[in-house]
Structure formats: structure tokens, C-alpha cells
């Protein structure tokens, strides 16, 4: 709906697209009526543009890899356990962490729309919100994983979790081999967004040397 519009009118004035004008219309009406505060809107954009993202979920995963008690708490009751790292809030009120093992690989989707664990992963990628992923993750998870370059042993079962507005899932991936002695920060650097959705695996090749300071 946001077609790049033709370059008419450039000589005469500015170029607000119809969708931009509609959004400005809603915002200005809502501000006038006191429903929203422009400063709060700016703060929200800044927060989700710069501060909230998969680096937070990566910290949760890395902690679970090095601390078995934390891992057990995370799998038993994710929301308060994630909050131990000062991570949480909007969109993560009811988090569930599901653990990958050699026997089971977990894949997260929202078949209804685009429910996603914002506090640990930020906002969802475009493909997560698109009909092909929403539909095929359930019908053909192995095919979807193949498109993402993930091939699992035939003996590994795939479990698909459907996130909702109420319950949002994150995957606890398996710790890569050869990372013994890695610091938490070095481990976190191996954890990708897709690894926590289940459409990817952690990076196998360390991007940080284990002796890098945290």
C-alpha cells in the first residue's frame, strides 16, 4: 500500500504519500483529543528502534547455557526468570521457553497474525508476519527449515508452537559444540534471532574469541 509515488509535485511542494498523510491524520487527531502524548510516541519509537532486540534474548540463552539452575527456572516459568536479567515488559507478560534437544527441535510461529516475544527478540521480521511462513510453519515445518538452511536429522522431531497475544514462545537452542570455557558474552554473540525463533541454529563458528572480555 505504500507505493513509491511518482515524482510529481516536487517543484511545488513537499511529498507526503497518502499513507503518510493518513498516519499523520490519526496521530494529530489522537493528540488533540488527548489519547496519546507525542513525547511518549517518540520514546516508544526510540526504545524499539535502538534498545529492544534479539541481543536481549541472547543474554537469556547464554545464561541458561552456563547456569543449570537458571535454565531449569527458565523452562519451568520463563517470565520471572527472564526478569532476573531485568528483561521483560510489554509483549512478554507470559513467556514460555522451549528447549531444543537432539530429539526435539522447536519452531515458533503466530498463525493468527504476528504475536512475538518483544522483550527478548524485539519486533518480528517481515517474513514472520507473512502468510507463507504463518501457514507453512505448521503444515511443512521441515520444508520451512530447509528454506532457512537448517537441515535436521530425520530422527529429530519438530514441534511447532503457536504464539498468541497471551502466550509468547522463545526457543532455547542447543549450545554449540566447542564452546567450553566461553564467557557468557562470547556465548551470547553466537545466539541469533532466528535461533530463538527456531528457524536457525546458533552460529557454529565463534565470532568472538573465548578470552574476549565481557
Amino acid at each position: 500500500m505504500t507505493h513509491a509515488h511518482a515524482d510529481h509535485d516536487h517543484d511545488h511542494g513537499s511529498d507526503l504519500s497518502p499513507v503518510e498523510a493518513r498516519v499523520r491524520a490519526l496521530e494529530s487527531l489522537l493528540v488533540e483529543k488527548g489519547y496519546v502524548d507525542p513525547a511518549a510516541l517518540d520514546a516508544l519509537v526510540e526504545m524499539y528502534e535502538t534498545r529492544i532486540g534479539p541481543h536481549l534474548g541472547a543474554r537469556v540463552v547464554a545464561r541458561a547455557w552456563v547456569d543449570p539452575a537458571f535454565r531449569a527456572r527458565l523452562l519451568a516459568d520463563a517470565t520471572p526468570t527472564i526478569a532476573e536479567l531485568d528483561i521483560g515488559g510489554r509483549g512478554g507478560e507470559h513467556m514460555v521457553a522451549v528447549e531444543n534437544t537432539p530429539e526435539v527441535h522447536n519452531l515458533v510461529v503466530c498463525t493468527l497474525c504476528s504475536c512475538y516475544p518483544w522483550p527478548v527478540l524485539g519486533l518480528p521480521p517481515v517474513w514472520y508476519k507473512a502468510p507463507p511462513y504463518r501457514a507453512r510453519a505448521v503444515i511443512d515445518p521441515r520444508g520451512v527449515l530447509a528454506e532457512f538452511g537448517v537441515s535436521l536429522p530425520e530422527t529429530t522431531r519438530i514441534t511447532v508452537w503457536d504464539s498468541t497475544a497471551e502466550t509468547r514462545f522463545m526457543v532455547l537452542p542447543m549450545r554449540p559444540a566447542g564452546t567450553e570455557g566461553f564467557s557468557e558474552a562470547a556465548l551470547a554473540a553466537l545466539v541469533t534471532r532466528d535461533a530463538m525463533i527456531g528457524t536457525g541454529l546458533p552460529r557454529a563458528v565463534p565470532v568472538l574469541a573465548p578470552e574476549m572480555p565481557a
Binding site: 513537499s14 490519526l26 516508544l44 521480521p125 502468510p131
Partner: protein, 108 residues
């Protein structure tokens, strides 16, 4: 479906604005996330045609629907205000901030 390359959260500033409006209105209790997901889920499943992406264009349409239904902003006011912004845009020299006051029909 595309690969795992990093993507920006918002493809354009208006997407970020729509996101912030929806989050802010949910924060203030105009609707719950459950209601939002249900409405967005319906908006991306138009009768008789294929499912659509749950993108910010559909967030915008969903938000407009809820605001009209709750008598916060009806369709006619939104349409009139949209036209005012378009007139303001055309009346604003390129590169300068577009203000509603720049609309030749503007009355404070």
C-alpha cells in the same frame, strides 16, 4: 520467505508511528493485546481472498477500524484530516517540516 539477514524494524517512519500509536493506546487501555490480535487477524483475512501479511499497513487499517468503532475518530474526520495533511504537504516548500498549519484551508 527470505533468509536470515538482518532487517530494519520499520521500513519507513510512518510504520514506526503506527506502531507507537497502537502500543500507546494499548498502554492506556483503549484495547487489550488480545483484542488487537483478534482484530488484526481478521483484517488480514478478507472474505474471499488470500491471507495478507500482518504488516503495518494492516496495523493502520485495524487501528482506524477500532477508533471509528469506539467513536474516537470516525472515518469522515480521518479522511478530512488526511486531505488537510496532503494540502499542507503540497503547500510546504520541499525540505521544510510539513505542518498542518501550512494547509491553505487551516483554521486554528
Amino acid at each position: 520467505m527470505t533468509g536470515p539477514e538482518p532487517e530494519k524494524n520499520f521500513a519507513a517512519p510512518w510504520e514506526a508511528q503506527v506502531f507507537a500509536l497502537v502500543v500507546s493506546l494499548q498502554d492506556s487501555g483503549l484495547f487489550t493485546w488480545g483484542e488487537w490480535a483478534e482484530r488484526l487477524g481478521a483484517a488480514i483475512r478478507p472474505a474471499g481472498s488470500a491471507e495478507r501479511p500482518a504488516d503495518y499497513g494492516h496495523w493502520l487499517a485495524t487501528l482506524e477500524g477500532i477508533l471509528a468503532e469506539r467513536a474516537v475518530a470516525d472515518g469522515a474526520s480521518v479522511a478530512a484530516r488526511t486531505e488537510a495533511w496532503l494540502r499542507a504537504s503540497r503547500a510546504t516548500p520541499h525540505g521544510e517540516p510539513i505542518r498542518l498549519e501550512n494547509d491553505p484551508h487551516y483554521r486554528a
